[in-house]
Every structure is written in C-alpha cells, then in structure tokens.
C-alpha cells in the first residue's frame, strides 16, 4: 500500500521593532519603501547589525517547541541571484540553527501525537515583488524583516494532521507574542513537501514541494489533493519527478511551477561580518522566565474549570477574547463568562466584523452581568437582552436594567410573592403534595405571571418546593 510522507516548512515573520540586520523599522504595512536604510538597500560598504531581540524571540519559539538550543551559533550566507534579494545573498543559519530536535503535540482521533521539528533557524526576509504588467516593482519595507523557519520532520501522514500541526504552531507563536502569524497577510507562510512510498519501503519516494498556500485549511486541501494525484500516477505505473507546484485557489488543485534539475547550489558560507553569538545562562534563563502561559496549559486549566471543549477551542483561537477572559476569570463564574464571550459577544464581533477593543464592553460591566447571572438575580434570557447595550453603549448594567424595565427580583421580594400565591391556591398545594406534578407547574405559572416573568425559574422552583414542604 502507498503511504504519504509529508514534511512542512513554515516561515514566520517576527514582530521585533526593528529589522534583524539593520536599524530599519520592522513594519511592512507602512507606506511602500519608507522603512528602508542603507543596509536594507545593500549599499556598498554597509555591514549587518544584529538585533538581539530577534534572537530572544526565536529562542522563545524554540523553548515553546521543546527544541535543543544552540548556545554558540553563527550565521551563513545563502547565495543566489534574484531582484528581491538586495545583497545577492540571504543571511541565514545553515550550520547552526538556533533550535533543533523539537516537537509539538497535536490531538488526532487516535490520541495525542508528537510532530517532530527538525530545526528552527533565523533568517532575513527579501523585498516584496509587485508585478504589474511587464514591470516588477520592489518594496524594500520587507527586506531584512526577521523570519524564523520551522522545518518539521517528515512524519505528517495527511492533510488533517498537517492542519493540526500548523494550528498548534500558530497558536503557540501567537501566545508567545513573537508574531502575528497571519497566513492571509503573509506573516506566516507554509510550503509542504509530499511524497508517497510503499508502506514497507525504507526509501522515501520522490518529493513534490507545494508553494503559495494561502491558509491553514488550504494546506490540508492541497496536501490531500497532491496525495491523490501522486497515487493515481504511481498506481498507473507512472514515475514521479522532483518538482515544485503551486496551489491554485480557484480550482483547489496544484499546478506545476518548475521541475527541479540538479540540487540548487547556494554556495553556503559563514557570514564573516557577524561574530559568533553566545547565548549565556542569564540570557537563556531570562528568556525561559519570560515565556507566558501557553495554550496547552490553558486548555488543562479550562477543562478543570468545567468549560466545554468547544468553548475552550474558541477562546484559544481568539486571543483577544482569551486575553480579556484571563484578566477577570478568576474573580467570577468562569463558565458563564466563557459562554458569554464565545457566544453572543463573539457573534456580535463577527457579525459587525470588528474586534473586542472596538466595542464599549468594560470589565466592570461584564463582571456585574456575570455576577447577576451567577446569583440568579437575572435570567439568562434577560442577560441576552442586556448584553447588546453593554457592547454598544457606555451605560452601566444597572442603568440598562432600569431602561429595559427589567427588575432584578431579589429573593425576599420573590418569597413574598411565592407565599401569596401559595396562600391563594391552597388546592394546588394539596394536589402537589398528593403527587400531582402538574399542580406545581400551575403554581410556577402564577408566580411568573405576578413577576412578569422576571423570576429565575430555577430559584423559583427550589423556593416553591421548600416552602410547600415546610407547610
């Protein structure tokens, strides 16, 4: 049987303030060709600087992905000609990648699986080419933007696993705060290497590299397509050629870009202008200390709190919501808070295509709302009515409740009404005691009528039974 072997290379832009080998500002989105200095333009006589923050950020990723850290490392030149490469070489780490032998864990249907990471290294990005007609224009804002390349071991078995692997990388990098990791905007880029071999063969098949994949879900689609394509060729007696293909968004297929001839000769060479970098114990320990709580630990914690797994996934996926959640969840009913954030609040954001910071929601108001709900002073239905006003106005919860005419019933008020209803409906009490459940429903209905539906059903139920039993 033919089985696929899949390895994935991911490039991630790090969001340091300045570029990795120059003092240029690291912000691709500024006006074209404004974040450029003489080093980015490879002016004659310039020498690379070295941004230590980039090394710290890369080290964080390596630690999060359980890599061995190379404490004595250097940089290398990778030589090739292309207009988007100003120096005619890229500064990268060929011999001494900052991280080796790591892994991430993914949850598959068969349980937890470790996806091995071969290496993580630091390098610089190229210019962004803008093709227009016969012309190609270059945006140097991207030249020298720091990247880490994360190379997986060839241990991924299908598109689904690839997707889970990428999601795990993305999640962790996002929570490490080292990158925006947006595939759509190019701050995370992914190439997949796919080959097929007979299950018992020790030799890997001929690999095809897929480039230009625009989202994590498309990675899965392209890999699965490629597996099927290769299967057909091999099963019909054909032979694979080593080639590079690109993913086509419209047809969701892969299209041949170029057949690889002899291996590329990048004439790697140690970069003589950057001395060896030594990561001493203090630097390493400080970096370990600075690593925030990561998604895996959060998931465990949320499970302990009794949050549903759907809500956990949603919270982690929306970092902004999760950050908000973590600022206040310890003080209140965290399950209710999670329900609100991943339910009505998220759908409000999605519907209006905005972010949490664009709403009027304050910590005070959400705390108050959750408290009212958890004390059953308002019903969840009432909560739903209140919430939109918390998102769109600056009013307090109390004012909104007043404005909506919602009377948060307190328990003593409720007790008075319940007692009145009991006194007025003695026959029903007798019927209930005789075992007629219907009689209780009638009594509840009477109280609801009196309270205009504002009584919390659960509280009411309990109170009614308690009072009847005391009689």
């Amino acid at each position: 049987m033919l089985v696929p072997t899949i390895g994935i290379e991911v490039h991630v832009e790090l969001k340091s303030n300045s570029k990795v080998f120059s003092r240029g500002k690291n912000d691709f989105n500024d006006d074209i060709n404004t974040n450029v200095d003489e080093i980015d333009l490879a002016y004659p006589g310039t020498l690379p600087a070295l941004n230590k923050d980039v090394i710290t950020m890369a080290m964080k990723a390596c630690i999060a992905f359980h890599c061995d850290i190379t404490r004595h490392m250097h940089f290398d030149r990778k030589n090739y000609f292309y207009p988007d490469l100003p120096k005619g070489f890229q500064i990268t780490q060929q011999d001494t990648p900052i991280g080796r032998n790591g892994y991430v864990e993914i949850k598959t249907d068969e349980g937890i699986k470790k996806i091995g990471i071969e290496r993580i290294h630091i390098e610089e990005d190229t210019c962004k080419s803008i093709h227009s007609g016969k012309q190609t224009l270059l945006n140097y804002n991207r030249a020298g933007v720091p990247l880490i390349e994360i190379v997986s071991k060839p241990v991924i078995k299908d598109g689904k696993e690839a997707m889970l692997y990428l999601e795990s990388l993305r999640e962790n990098l996002l929570y490490l705060g080292v990158s925006d990791v947006k595939m759509e905007e190019g701050s995370m880029r992914c190439d997949a290497n796919v080959s097929l071999k007979e299950e018992d063969s020790p030799v890997l098949g001929t690999k095809v590299e897929i480039k230009n994949i625009g989202s994590i879900s498309k990675v899965a689609i392209s890999i699965n397509y490629e597996i099927e394509r290769q299967k057909k060729i091999l099963e019909s007696g054909g032979k694979m050629k080593e080639e590079t293909r690109r993913f086509d968004d419209k047809t969701e297929t892969t299209i041949l870009m170029r057949v690889k001839e002899t291996g590329n000769d990048y004439r790697y060479q140690p970069e003589p202008n950057i001395p060896f970098v030594d990561i001493d114990d203090k630097w390493y320990n400080d970096t370990v200390e600075s690593i925030p709580t990561l998604p895996a630990a959060m998931r465990d914690e949320y499970e302990q709190l009794g949050i549903s797994s759907n809500n956990i996934n949603t919270l982690i996926a929306y970092k902004e919501l999760n950050d908000f959640y973590r600022e206040i969840y310890k003080d209140i009913d965290s399950v209710i808070l999670a329900n609100l954030l991943t339910g009505d609040i998220l759908s409000h954001l999605n519907k209006n295509n905005i972010e949490l910071k664009d709403t009027c929601l304050t910590k005070e108001n959400i705390l108050k709302l959750v408290t009212l709900l958890s004390k059953k002073e308002i019903t969840s239905k009432q909560g739903k009515e209140i919430l939109p006003y918390l998102l769109t106005t600056n009013n307090s919860v109390d004012k909104i409740i007043d404005d909506l005419g919602i009377k948060g019933l307190d328990n003593s008020e409720l007790e008075t009404i319940v007692k009145n209803v009991i006194n007025a409906n003695n026959q029903s009490v007798v019927d209930y005691k005789a075992g007629k459940e219907k009689a209780l429903k009638f009594l509840i209905g009477q109280v609801m009528k009196e309270t205009k539906g504002q009584a919390n059903p659960e509280t009411l139920n309990k109170m009614l039974i308690d009072l009847i039993n005391k009689m």
Partner: protein, 479 residues
C-alpha cells in the same frame, strides 16, 4: 608654488595655529601638485575642498589634523563625492552615507582632496586593473606604484597630500607603500571600522593610514581607530598609538621568520633588511631567525578564502539598485550583461574562482579546509608572539617593476603578496617602512609585524629605525 606639503605635520600645524597659513593654502598647493605631477593617482578631485577649507578659517585649530589635506582610496564611501572602486560598475555612484572613518576624519576637520585611483575593487597589486587607467609610480613613471592602494601611495610619496587612507586585504596598503617609499600600516583586524569600506574579503579587509613618516601614521591611526557599533567585528580599545614612539628599543625581542628571508626574495632586498637587523642588534635588540610553520600555504589559502568572500560580496552589483545597468528584456540577460560589461577582467576572474571554491562539494574540499588551515596559521603566529615582541622581514619580494609584467601571468601577481598575505590571514597588524634604496634608486620596504593591537610597539620600533637611518625620502632629492 608653495612647499608647505613638504613640511612635517607638526610644522604645518604650527603655521596654521600661528595663522601664518590657512587651510586653503594647503588645498591650493595640493591641487597644483596633482595637476603638475600627472600621475593619474586621483579618480575624482573634491570640488568642494576649497569651500571646506574656507569654512575652517574661523575655527580654532584644535588638533594636529586640523585643515590637513588627505587623500581617500576610492573604495571608501563619501557622501557627495562619488565612489567608483575604479570600476565601470560604479562609474557614477554616489553614496548616501559617509564611511565611519570619513565621519571621524571630518570630525578632526581634515580636508578630503579627492578619491584615489586603485585596482578595481581592490583586486590587484599594480594599479593596472583600474577602469580609469594606470597610476604612475612617482619615483619612476615607467614602473607600477603597487596596489591596490596605488593612488593613495603615489599621492603621499609625491607630497600631493600629507596623509592618505588605503585599504589592505592581502597587502594593498603595505605593498604600494613599499613600492613608493612611504609608511603604510595595516592595523589589527577589528582596529578600524570597516563600515563604508566597499567589501572585497570581509574577514581580511582593514582600512590603514599611509604617511611620509611613522609619527604621522600613528596620529592618523589615533583618529580612525576604535569601536564602531556599525561594525560588529570592530574592537574597543582606547590606546594612544604614539605613546611608545621615542622610547628605547633596547631589549626588544625580534623574530625573523626564515620564510621572509628565503632566496625567493631579491638579494638586494634581503641585504638591506640584514643591515637593519645588524643595526637593531647594536641598539640592544635580540634578533633570532625562527620557523613559523605553514606560512607557505598563505597564498593558496588567500585565493580560496578571499576570493570566496569576494564572490558573494560582489553579488550585490546587479544593476537593480545602483551602479551600471545593462537594460535587457530578460532577467537572466540583465544579470549577464550588467556584470559582464560592468566588471573588468580581473574582478570577473576572481568572482569565478571564488564561486568555484564555494560550489557544492568544493566547499568542503577547498573552502572549509582553508578555514581550518587558516586557524592553524593563527595559532603558529600566536606561538611566535609568546617568545617575541615583534616579527621582521621585507614587505615585498622585490622593488617596483615596470608596467605590463604580469599581463601574461595572472598567478604571478599573487606572489607579490607572498610576504603580506600571511599576516592578513592571521589578522595581525603590520607596517611597511622604507629602509633604503636599491642600486636603481627604488625604495625597499621593511615589514614590522606586531601582536594583536600592538600597533604602538610597531611604531616604537619603526620610529627608532627611522631616526637611525635618517633617509631622505623626498622625490627628486639627492640621495
């Protein structure tokens, strides 16, 4: 014409201080001499030099280098004054920034007279690879001035300027200094910032001062040395390099590597060096002939390491951003024609050799093996410096030779650097000092090699020899 530029730096400084002369007088004299000499030693003259000199008139003469005319090798970038590297590729190139050494000499209010002719991209040792034609040796115009800092050496030797900056990768300051009879230093690797020096071989390149005498050389080194955050290989040290000049040399231990006195070296050169060694013994120095292993591999190592680095350093000249462009429909053609037309033959030859030694398996066979052997040479030099304060030998295997000698024999040109390259490989400082003339009246250079950052000790010995010999180095003087 005035003769202020024949004076010593300290004398010029006195005249400036006393307001007997103005910086503009020095500039006028420099331009007049350059015009008269016709050495083709400048590619570009600084048209703003007069203006800059005038602007100094109301300022206090606050240091020895104030108002002093200096020549800059044309591979050190200067904002507002084109930098060609003597190549068609950069024929009209204007830098957007000043090299760190330029910022430093400007802070001292020195006046840049112009950018000097050189071998294209510093690749050559005769000046003959320049796109702008040969620089003539002021001591004999039928002979090469040496290279690659050809114009810097010629302009100092002919007293067109007081001082000059050159760059030395395998001998490019020392060899022309020897051929023209001036003092030239290649500092310790890391002593002077390379920011703004157009790279040839990054692990070897150093900017060095060139001067008429030892003291002035040290003064210029003081001005340009020091840590620069823009050059990660530069090193912090705050020495006064003049401080040991004039101190007694008695008891100094001097080693003379046998490699430097072999019969490959011209007999007149060797004899002159031996005379100096005798003199030093008389002055109380201990002089021993010693063996330093593996120095004979320095030239092949250089061809692998320097050219390997050069091949990637020069990759940026592709017509996309600056410099010469051959506009073509196809991208491949743009690269091919831009680089084929823009670079001269020697540069292309070196790029090809450098690319070859880094290609595929060759990287292991040549490049990485060379790096290991280089490490070994470093260790061997270090061992020698455990026992000796300074090492001595000739700068060049011979004196300046006629033009066109190497045209048929490319490899031969590397052998000019037989005695300078081993020092470059180890990153050590070395100074070329004129110690006499051969029977054709051509200068012979002594090379003094110091331990890392011991430029002050080099100057101490060089100055002692200089004051013993009392040579008249002025061109046209009766010797």
């Amino acid at each position: 014409m005035t003769n202020y530029l024949d004076l010593e730096l300290t004398e010029i400084n006195k005249l400036l201080k006393a307001k007997k002369i103005k910086p503009i007088d020095l500039v006028e004299e420099a331009f007049a001499r350059i015009k008269k000499d016709e050495l083709n030693d400048f590619i570009t003259l600084n048209e703003k030099a007069r203006e800059e000199a005038k602007a100094l008139e109301n300022l206090e003469v606050d240091n020895l280098l104030f108002g002093i005319p200096i020549a800059i090798k044309d591979n050190i970038v200067t904002k507002g004054l084109r930098t060609t590297c003597a190549s068609k590729m950069l024929e009209n190139f204007d830098s957007v920034y000043d090299a760190t050494v330029i910022e430093k000499i400007k802070a001292k209010h020195m006046i840049i007279i112009g950018k000097t002719n050189m071998d294209e991209f510093a690749m050559g040792s005769t000046g003959e690879t320049s796109y702008f034609g040969n620089t003539l040796n002021p001591r004999d115009k039928s002979r090469v001035p040496g290279g690659s800092s050809s114009g810097s050496a010629a302009s100092v030797a002919s007293h067109e300027v007081v001082l000059a900056l050159g760059s030395d990768t395998g001998g490019s300051v020392r060899q022309p200094s020897g051929f023209c009879g001036i003092v030239g230093l290649k500092p310790t690797y890391g002593c002077v910032s390379r920011y703004g020096l157009v790279a040839f071989a990054s692990s070897l390149d150093q900017i060095g001062p060139m001067s008429k005498n030892v003291y002035e050389n040290a003064v210029l080194l003081n001005a340009i040395a020091g840590l620069d955050e823009k050059d990660l290989t530069s090193v912090k040290q705050e020495k006064d390099f003049t401080s040991l000049i004039g101190k007694d040399i008695k008891g100094l231990k001097i080693g003379v590597p046998n490699y430097y006195m072999s019969d490959v070296i011209d007999i007149e050169v060797r004899n002159k060096i031996k005379e100096v060694l005798e003199l030093l013994k008389k002055k109380g120095c201990e002089v021993d002939y010693i063996d330093i292993p593996n120095l004979e591999y320095a030239i092949p190592l250089y061809q692998v390491i320097a050219l390997g680095e050069a091949s990637t350093n020069l990759a940026r000249f592709d017509g996309v951003k600056y410099g010469f462009l051959s506009d073509q429909e196809k991208l491949e053609d743009m690269y091919t024609y831009t680089r084929s037309i823009g670079f001269g033959a020697e540069v292309k030859r070196r790029i090809m050799v450098g690319s070859y030694v880094l290609s595929g398996e060759n990287a292991k066979t040549y490049y990485y093996k060379a790096l290991r052997l280089r490490h070994n040479i470093v260790e061997n030099f270090k061992k020698a410096f455990k026992k000796y304060d300074l090492l001595l030998g000739p700068t060049n295997t011979n004196v300046a030779y006629p033009f066109n000698r190497h045209l048929d024999n490319v490899l031969q040109s590397f052998y000019d650097d037989l005695l300078t390259i081993p020092v470059s490989m180890a990153g050590l400082p070395a100074l070329a000092l004129p110690v006499g003339f051969n029977k054709e009246n051509l200068p012979i250079g002594l090379q003094i090699i110091g331990n890392y950052f011991k430029e002050d000790e080099i100057y101490q010995l060089a100055s002692a020899i200089e004051s013993e010999l009392k040579l008249d180095l002025k061109i046209g003087s009766d010797k």
